[in-house]
């Protein structure tokens, strides 16, 4: 099975999900590249199911108050702040 053709709508849908604005030119270029790259990724369909035991363990620590960044330091890279808080654009 091969990928269904990638069209401009697919690229625009994903760009919208990822909060990225694309020009028509970008969309055209990405559509062509994505077709080629996704066809290459399609080979993964032939990978067999693998029995694997995860080696993961939870790493816990005590929930204790300790020294952390000052509010000033945490805000120093923000474009704008107000009353010690980050300032962002309006929600709607």
């Amino acid at each position: 099975m091969t990928t269904e053709p990638v069209d401009a709508d697919d690229v625009e849908r994903v760009a919208d999900l990822a909060r990225v604005e694309l020009t028509d030119e970008d969309v055209a270029a990405f559509t062509e590249q994505f077709q080629e790259i996704l066809e290459y990724f399609d080979a993964l369909e032939d990978v067999p199911d693998v029995d694997s035991e995860p080696e993961l363990v939870n790493v816990m620590r005590e929930d204790k108050v300790r020294e952390s960044l000052s509010q000033e330091a945490a805000l120093q890279n923000a474009t704008d702040s107000e009353d010690g808080r980050f300032k962002g654009p309006r929600v709607s």
């Binding site: 994903v14 990225v20 993964l44 990978v47 693998v50 694997s52 120093q76 704008d80």
Partner: protein, 422 residues
């Protein structure tokens, strides 16, 4: 002459004494340095100044190192040539018409050119080993969990490690000892690297060592690279190592699996760049969706956008099982293949890169072709293993790197084998 190895030159003095007293170290620009801007090679973070040090930077300072600057890199580590940097490409000091490899190209160029004694890079799919191979230096990608990632700006956090680049195996091993070991601020670090003197393994003693060669990762290399690789194997044989063939059938799928996983993780990790807490701002005129989109489109370059979009696609409804889940299956398979190979071999060997360094400007037109030259390095990251790249002479006046891969936390074995090639 400047090769554009540094994005920001600095002079950060460490402690008055220590094993790195008097030594200069260049640090890749995705590793946080308190008070010194850390851009990740991106316009997004052009003015970002971290309020804290990465753990590895604290350890360099405690060891007495002088940090001489932040090195150029592919934007957020996404590239194999250091050409996707928003600050322009780095030239290869060995041949200025060629790329130094990537994504830690600035770190490798600084060491190759003598602008720093040592350097730190990061390796997500080969980003330390590739530039080491292309500049004739030594680079080590540690086992996942050996070195703290606290303060490293994440790209694909299940794959990446910080590691050393140096002019020779001994100095790379010594630098690894300084940065390795557990860190309470990174829950994925392990006890294994605590107080280990890796330079003790720089004895070249490969007598009786079994070196496995995965044919799948040699056949795809250019003839000029294979000649030097075979000469390296001969050197190991002459010193008493036994060379055997091993099979890694899963690696056929490694590049696809690697890119699906790396892009998926990138789409999630880079979601934080909305221009509010740090980074390029989209202003305050539109609603948040509009301004976040504006901030991101302005701040990210083409390769970063490509990976964010493809990663978002691979995780999106209807495609997750086909791409992301299958890539995780492939990753588990690659790990099993390596486990099996290490039942017969102590270490594995391959050419680090299947090609000689490309000319500047040659690689950006065709992204898939660029991804494919990572074939020999990405399996190591998928399997969380350590690997070293050591120079094995020149072909057509270009350096060739010899990669030695070890079992998990087998850094001493790869350092020992690497030192036998010097």
């Amino acid at each position: 002459m400047s090769h554009n190895a540094f994005i920001t030159e600095a002079e950060i003095e460490g402690a008055d004494d220590g094993p790195l007293d008097g030594r200069s170290v260049a640090v890749k620009d995705n590793i946080s340095t308190e008070g010194v801007r850390t851009t990740c090679g991106s316009a997004m973070l052009e003015d970002y100044v971290p309020p804290y040090d990465a753990t590895v930077v604290s350890r360099l300072k405690e060891a007495g190192a002088t940090i001489v600057g932040k090195t150029n890199m592919d934007e957020f580590g996404m590239g194999t040539t250091t050409e996707t940097s928003a600050f322009g490409p780095t030239k290869n000091p060995v041949d200025e018409d060629r790329v130094p490899g990537g994504s830690s190209g600035g770190s490798a160029a600084a060491v190759a050119n003598g602008e720093a004694d040592l350097a730190l890079g990061t390796d997500t799919g080969g980003s330390i080993r590739c530039p080491a191979a292309f500049t004739g230096t030594v680079g080590i990608k540690p086992t996942y969990g050996l070195v703290s990632r606290y303060g490293l700006v994440a790209y694909a956090n299940s794959l990446e490690q910080i590691g050393p680049i140096a002019p020779n195996v001994g100095e790379a091993a010594s630098l690894l000892s300084i940065i390795a070991g557990p860190d309470e601020r990174d829950g994925t670090t392990r006890e294994e690297g605590k107080d280990v003197e890796y330079a003790d393994a720089v004895d070249g003693d490969v007598e009786g060592m079994t070196v496995g060669v995965p044919t799948e990762l040699v056949e795809g290399s250019d003839e000029v690279v294979r000649e030097r690789f075979e000469a390296g194997l001969d050197e190991l044989r002459e010193q008493g190592a036994e060379v055997v063939e091993v099979e890694l059938p899963s690696v056929e799928y490694a590049v696809a699996a690697y890119y699906v996983i790396a892009m998926s993780e990138a789409s999630s990790n880079l979601a934080r760049f909305d221009g509010v807490r740090y980074g390029n701002s989209g202003g305050f005129d539109g609603d948040w969706n509009e301004t976040f989109s504006e901030a991101r489109s302005e701040g990210f370059g083409d390769e970063v956008l490509r990976r964010i979009l493809l990663g978002t696609f691979a995780l999106s409804e209807g495609y997750h099982d086909k791409y992301y889940k299958q890539a995780q299956e492939a990753r588990a398979w690659v790990k099993q293949d390596f486990d099996r190979a290490f039942e017969t071999a102590d270490v594995l060997a391959t050419p680090t890169m299947p090609v000689l360094p490309p000319k500047l400007g040659e690689s950006l037109e065709d992204p898939l072709q660029m991804y494919l030259i990572d074939a020999n390095t990405v399996p190591v990251n998928l399997a969380n293993l350590p690997a070293i790249s050591v120079p094995v002479g020149d072909s057509d006046d270009q350096p060739v790197g010899f990669q030695v891969i070890g079992p998990a936390f087998g850094e001493k074995a790869i350092i020992r084998a690497g030192s036998a090639l010097e």
